[in-house]
Symmetry: C2
Subunit: 242 residues, 2 copies
Amino acid sequence: MADTKIRLFVDQPLGAGQVIALNEGQANYLFAVMRLGVGAAIRVFNGRDGEWRAEVAEAGKRKGLLMCDVQTAPLQMPPDLWLLFAPIKKARTDFIVEKATELGAARVIPVQTRFTNADRIRIDKLRAHAVEAAEQCGGTYVPQVDEVVPLEKLLANWPAERRILWCNEHLAGVAEALPDGGEVGPWAILIGPEGGFSEAEQARLAAMPQVVQASLGPRILRADTAAVAALTLWQAQLGDWR
Amino acid sequence: MADTKIRLFVDQPLGAGQVIALNEGQANYLFAVMRLGVGAAIRVFNGRDGEWRAEVAEAGKRKGLLMCDVQTAPLQMPPDLWLLFAPIKKARTDFIVEKATELGAARVIPVQTRFTNADRIRIDKLRAHAVEAAEQCGGTYVPQVDEVVPLEKLLANWPAERRILWCNEHLAGVAEALPDGGEVGPWAILIGPEGGFSEAEQARLAAMPQVVQASLGPRILRADTAAVAALTLWQAQLGDWR
């Protein structure tokens, strides 16, 4: 049987001869939805051990076993880049997590700002979106998705060496603002809520030595567009798109 | 009464003292949804005459009149940049048009490729999305949205001077591929379908002198992500984000 193009994230150790026990959701997807049978091969990854070829060894209604065969790709870590964003409407929040995974962020942190309405954030759903995006985009890594944290608290304990790209809609010229070449080090991108940051938040950010202010053009971008644009510019100039 | 933050696209001439007749949808939005009354002021634009302040002169159930007052912003045209994309699932196609408007494309052309499924594209809906995005992002211009056109036909009549940024997932380094500085001239960005271009399409594109091939990093991007990323890189390097 020819190998399928299916990629599955499994939170278990991977290695030659390693047996992988499938949970109910995975078994349902592989055997009921995709109609795979014993002997079919898929690709699996766990975010740590790269990508492996695995064959179906047992296929049940609510369970199943895969047997790991050979490694098909090494682990490819994204740059040490965090995305901080203020959650917005559900579909657009899902979208931001999906795009952060595709574009290569290492960690995604939803932040509670003065003007954020983050009542209904379901972190488990966001994590599932990150997994699905990694399965789709061929990545071998799934970004960590944190619980919502107050921006104030996050900034109070901010690491001295981690720079922050703050996309401030009142400035012009992101390309100029980013350092060019050299050792990159740890970074974060900060995207504000649709209502913008409060004056106190703006003053706090502007006073931090780690902050690099940048703008994303002459039009006002939605938060989800701004997240994708900022990740793109960072990756092209400082990240693994270079 | 303080001015509202409402921005409305009206397809009518704008100027001092100009009267604007509202259609049923616009009257419903302003008077029933937003509950504006006579004397309330909004911003209007038509894609040609910049942005104007206009006051409600008459408010009816299915109609109404606005009176143009003063210009609040000049017309700001985006760069001469077209976005060509192969339509995908509905929500993601809507999203591409929204993002192209926000990021500043002048024209959006859905293309039928060998592996495109564009049966259900509703161009009127896509145009409404472009209008809504322009209203939201503070733009004074709405990109033209064309009917779906076969890629082959489009390329057969392609203008000699309009360059094409082709986002080819098998290459690396978009930043190197784009010319740096100087006169920019007319451009287009071409985003392929989820299934990729056919071999014949790839050969056709590779042979065109106008084509600049570029890649968008080591992960495989969905078509909607690729569209936003390519627009961002182009705008930052050659467009009005510089």
